[in-house]
Symmetry: C2
Subunit: 190 residues, 2 copies
DNA sequence: TTAGTCATGTAATCGGTTACATGATTTT
DNA sequence: AAAATCATGTAACCGATTACATGACTAA
């Protein structure tokens, strides 16, 4: 049930509409949790009904009205309580890994293009993260003084960066392996 | 819909019962996909009804009968077709990261124990993966010659190992940050 | 004029988790 | 005697995805 808590964190960092939250889930929050706008709207309504959030409609010129959500005291309490509960260490779900292992029952070299596509996507994401890091937290050689919230945001972003770097290195390993498997392994035999 | 495909891959590697599949999902397949026995049984019945799998009951001495599933020709075809479809690069979902970012609105040092617990869990998993690697694929200095299926299994396992190593390093970074935040940053100011 | 952004929603379906349930056998 | 393993399932619920829908404004 971490979506609710991710929303609480995001709204505490800055109040906003469902639409704005959906956009944040595409970027900053996106490197540790994802959600579509449909789901966000549904959860927002439920959380408001439960008294965790306050809403007020904001009229805008030239744009549709929006409902700006902010965290109500019970929402803050719910987040504080959750921070003291243990969550269980998660496992990954990696569909591409299923495919790689499945390739043994098809043509492994047919996967090369697919793996390269994934590599590109992760490389793009890494670039975006690094750009965001430089923008929000300063370049490594030009450190800024940050408050607690920023320090924590930064360490989470470093996690996203580490994940992308690791994934890219692994996909290179996968590509290497797929290429090696195309030529029968004859070297080294007597 | 990768669970079906993960099951097809696993059953192609070796036929087995729902119970056995559930066990495999706790270990080898577990480092890229997870599933509980309830879900596995449900999906197995559906796949059998769809003609993707064959079943035959196996009587056992001293143990309950089991239904051994194996991949039927249409199942093999379904897997082959899926291998040619692109899957989209996934994002991670990391509940702990939500917590870390949420800690800014509570007591960050209260998270230290929780993060240490996660670090332990990932360290355990890493050890199991490394033990499995040595057992199934030989130590790095004593390489074995492997067939295509084994090579692909190995590269996926290397991915799991890389993921755990990266996660442990990141959690150390997180612990470092949480410790630093306990003492007010006074060094370096005039 | 077409595409893109801002903004919110409904409906259907599927995938996954949690809790509950049974029962024999084997190991400590 | 108790706990663990082998083996299979039902029911309820929740979380998440996909498809569909609307409508105004803005920029290429």
């Amino acid at each position: 049930m971490a979506l609710e808590h991710a929303i609480l964190v995001s709204l505490l960092e800055k109040p906003g509409s469902g639409y704005e939250l959906a956009r944040r889930f595409e970027r900053s929050i996106g490197y540790f949790w994802t959600a579509t706008h449909q789901q966000i709207y549904r959860v927002l309504r439920r959380m408001e009904a439960d008294g965790l959030l306050d809403v007020h409609e904001v009229a805008q010129r030239g744009r549709p009205d929006k409902k700006e959500y902010s965290v109500a005291p019970p929402g803050r309490a719910a987040l504080a309580a959750w921070l003291h509960e243990p969550v269980q260490p998660e496992s990954i779900r990696h569909e591409l890994a299923v495919k790689i292992r499945g390739a043994a029952f098809g043509d492994p070299s047919a996967l090369i293009a697919e793996v390269e596509r994934h590599r590109e996507a992760h490389d793009d994401r890494l670039r975006r993260y690094l750009a965001g890091e430089a923008r929000d937290f300063g370049a490594p050689d030009v450190p800024r003084s940050l408050d607690v919230g920023q320090e924590l945001q930064h360490v989470v972003l470093r996690g996203g960066i580490a994940f992308e770097r690791m994934t890219i290195a692994w996909l290179d390993d996968v590509l290497d392996t797929l290429h090696r498997l195309r030529v029968p392994p004859s070297v080294g035999r007597p």
